[in-house]
């Protein structure tokens, strides 16, 4: 399956991935509007962690046996066995945060506005994940995982 892989040796902590993730999941899809009007409502689904010079971005890893899917009591989280993609249906999510409780990378955030979980959806709507497309140093890349 395709996974977004973070290369920490090239992550430079610019955090543009967070910026573009937020925009990609905004209503307006416009940088300035998203930040001016929707910041606070929506959260980026990717987080850059930094310790000294080292940093890297974390988002949903689309685990092979996703703990979040097992823990999800509504069935909102689902792993597509064909693509390996872990999807989240906000319509079915009630914001119980069981997924937040079990995600080992801490990649599921609480959408403050909708009171539902927010996680990386690989930007399937647009084709290329915004974080990957906009990472200036290719520290985020899509790699085909043959497992």
């Amino acid at each position: 399956m395709k996974r977004i892989v973070a290369k920490e040796e090239y992550c430079m902590n610019c955090r543009l991935c967070e910026v573009y993730c937020l925009v990609s999941h905004s209503r307006s899809k416009d940088l300035i509007k998203a930040f001016r009007q929707e910041r606070g409502e929506i959260v980026p689904r990717i987080t850059v962690e930094r310790l000294g010079p080292v940093s890297f971005a974390v988002q949903c890893r689309h685990c092979d046996e996703p703990a979040c899917v097992e823990a999800c009591m509504t069935g909102a989280l689902h792993r597509d066995p064909a693509t390996g993609e872990v999807t989240h249906d906000p319509q079915r999510c009630v914001g119980c945060w069981m997924c937040v409780m079990v995600c080992p990378t801490g990649a599921i955030r609480r959408d403050r506005n909708g009171h539902v979980a927010a996680k990386c959806d690989l930007c399937l709507e647009t084709g290329t994940p915004a974080c990957v497309a906009n990472c200036p140093n290719e520290a985020l890349v899509i790699e085909e995982d043959n497992d």
């Binding site: 290369k7 040796e9 090239y10 992550c11 430079m12 902590n13 610019c14 955090r15 543009l16 967070e18 910026v19 573009y20 940088l31 300035i32 930040f35 001016r36 910041r39 000294g52 010079p53 906009n134 200036p136 140093n137 290719e138 520290a139």
Partner: protein, 505 residues
């Protein structure tokens, strides 16, 4: 004096309508120009520290930033310009030598711009390199005057001539000497990888070759410089060729200095000096005080490499460069590299950078002429360097007589360098001329190598186009072919030294 007189060189303009307080600029500026004030939720800036590297403006997702040169508006004066005044303020404050980096930025003309190229019309078909073969393969090394053959009983020919070792380049462009230390590990790796991918050579510079880079040896020319950093038999063996560095165009006559704070564990291993110690290259090689001494070093290196690798000698272009080059060829060098006064550097005293040496155009023309006059042009290849900006510069240099060129600044620009000329501060925001682990990771060598290969590919294609226009399909027929050059705006004396006709002739 408590207050500095030097004024900010740049204005940072932030468009409040566009700024989204994402703070990318704050995180990316190693000079701490930008800061975030949580209380007001505003990004603020301290322009005095701005070096104009454009990192923030490039990464700002909303294009909210504009960095503009802000020369202080002193009273207009053609002699006492703002730069001159500011430099004096700086020296009055520190008592130090003014430092600069990269190549000569003064307004002196680039003679390349005064040389124009030829193209075929009617009498000679121009060649379309997309459809016809167009050959750039270049061999660097000593060539004999003639090929001698043996014939067996049936008259079958075989070679009696054994060629001296040659470097084979897929395009007549190599990467100049830039040491690991002056540039980052990732920048070095980018150059080495690109050289391998495109079939040309990178040059280690005088800082040794880290073991990680040994696999790139077949595409590396390694330097033996006055400091002898990182030189041992394995270093010589792993490389494709060895270059004795006598001088460089940006600072002829003086040595180099890598401050101890840049000498970390990895650089210490590479240079074979203790961690934290200054790496000082003496101005001369203290075992070369004469051309005879140079010959001894050349042959020592040939012996050490069992005559299997070309030995290059690199000098700065100075006034009597032709005679010096002739001596170098006669001393046994397989390659002579001439670095013109626009060559780059990580650090040089400004006065030296801007005032010492001669332009590569004249040096190259003089050297090629001199070697031909003496009938020894084929005994060594000539590599020109120092400020090549485009494929047209390269074509002109080859037509003037160079076998190949070294590009340094252009390669760094391909890697993202914005020529802010502050390499020596170690705070390169583009991750190129720095050893700060927070900054070096900004250059992903995969991207770097790709960009360099693209540059080589683009330039090579342009060279082919220009050659095709001249009706030439092999680089051999461009090399030294000054018939295809014409000068504009040059004096008779300049034309005569360059060995070219004036436009219209």
């Amino acid at each position: 004096m408590s207050k500095r007189l030097v004024q900010a060189e740049f204005n940072v303009e932030r468009d409040p309508e566009r700024c989204i307080q994402c703070q990318v600029c704050v995180r990316q500026c190693s000079n701490q120009v930008h800061a975030y004030d949580a209380e007001s939720d505003q990004v603020t800036c301290d322009e005095a520290s701005c070096v104009g590297c454009q990192r923030c403006a490039t990464l700002c997702p909303t294009n909210a930033l504009t960095i503009k040169k802000a020369p202080p508006e002193f009273a207009p004066d053609n002699n006492w310009t703002s730069d001159v005044i500011q430099n004096i303020y700086r020296q009055a404050e520190t008592g130090g030598v003014l430092l600069s980096a990269m190549g000569n930025d003064t307004a002196k003309v680039s003679w390349w711009d005064n040389i124009l190229l030829n193209a075929s019309q009617v009498t000679n078909p121009s060649i379309d390199p997309l459809r016809e073969p167009m050959e750039l393969t270049t061999f660097l090394g000593a060539k004999p005057n003639a090929v001698e053959l043996n014939f067996d009983d049936q008259g079958g020919p075989s070679l009696a001539t054994k060629l001296a070792p040659q470097l084979v380049l897929s395009t007549p462009i190599m990467f100049s000497a830039m040491s690991y230390g002056a540039i980052s590990y990732n920048a070095f790796e980018s150059l080495a990888r690109a050289a391998g991918q495109y079939g040309t050579f990178a040059n280690s510079g005088e800082g040794g070759l880290h073991k990680d880079f040994w696999p790139h040896g077949p595409n590396m020319i390694v330097q033996v410089a006055s400091g002898r950093f990182g030189v041992d038999i394995d270093y010589l063996k792993v490389a494709a060729a060895v270059e004795i560095k006598i001088g460089q165009g940006a600072k002829p006559g003086i040595g180099g200095h890598l401050p101890g704070e840049k000498v970390d564990e990895r650089i210490s291993q590479t240079r074979m000096i203790p961690v934290g110690s200054d790496a000082i290259s003496p101005a001369p090689h203290h075992d070369i005080y004469s051309i005879e001494d140079l010959r001894q070093l050349i042959y020592s290196l040939k012996e050490a490499t069992r005559y299997q690798k070309p030995i290059s000698v690199k000098i700065a272009a100075v006034h009597n460069v032709a005679a010096i080059a002739s001596g170098i060829v006669r001393a046994g060098a397989d390659i002579v590299a001439i670095d013109g006064y626009k060559g780059g550097t990580g650090a040089a005293p400004t006065m030296i950078r801007n005032n010492v040496g001669i332009p590569i155009e004249f040096a190259l023309a003089a050297v090629d002429d001199r070697l031909r006059q003496e009938g020894i042009r084929n005994q060594a290849s000539v590599v020109a360097c120092g400020g090549f900006r485009s494929s047209a510069d390269v074509v002109k240099a080859i037509a003037l007589g160079a076998d190949a060129v070294y590009i340094g600044t252009a390669a760094l620009v391909a890697l993202g360098c914005h020529l802010c000329q502050k390499c020596y501060t170690g705070k390169c925001n583009w991750g190129i001329a720095t050893q700060d682990p927070y900054l070096t990771r900004r250059l992903n060598p995969e991207i770097g190598a790709r960009r360099l290969v693209n540059l080589l590919r683009g330039w090579s294609h342009e060279i082919k186009e220009m050659m095709g226009g001249m009706g030439i399909n092999a680089i051999e027929s461009l090399r030294g072919n000054r018939e295809h050059l014409r000068g504009v705006g040059l004096s008779d004396r300049e034309l005569s030294i360059l060995g070219i006709k004036a436009a219209g002739e």
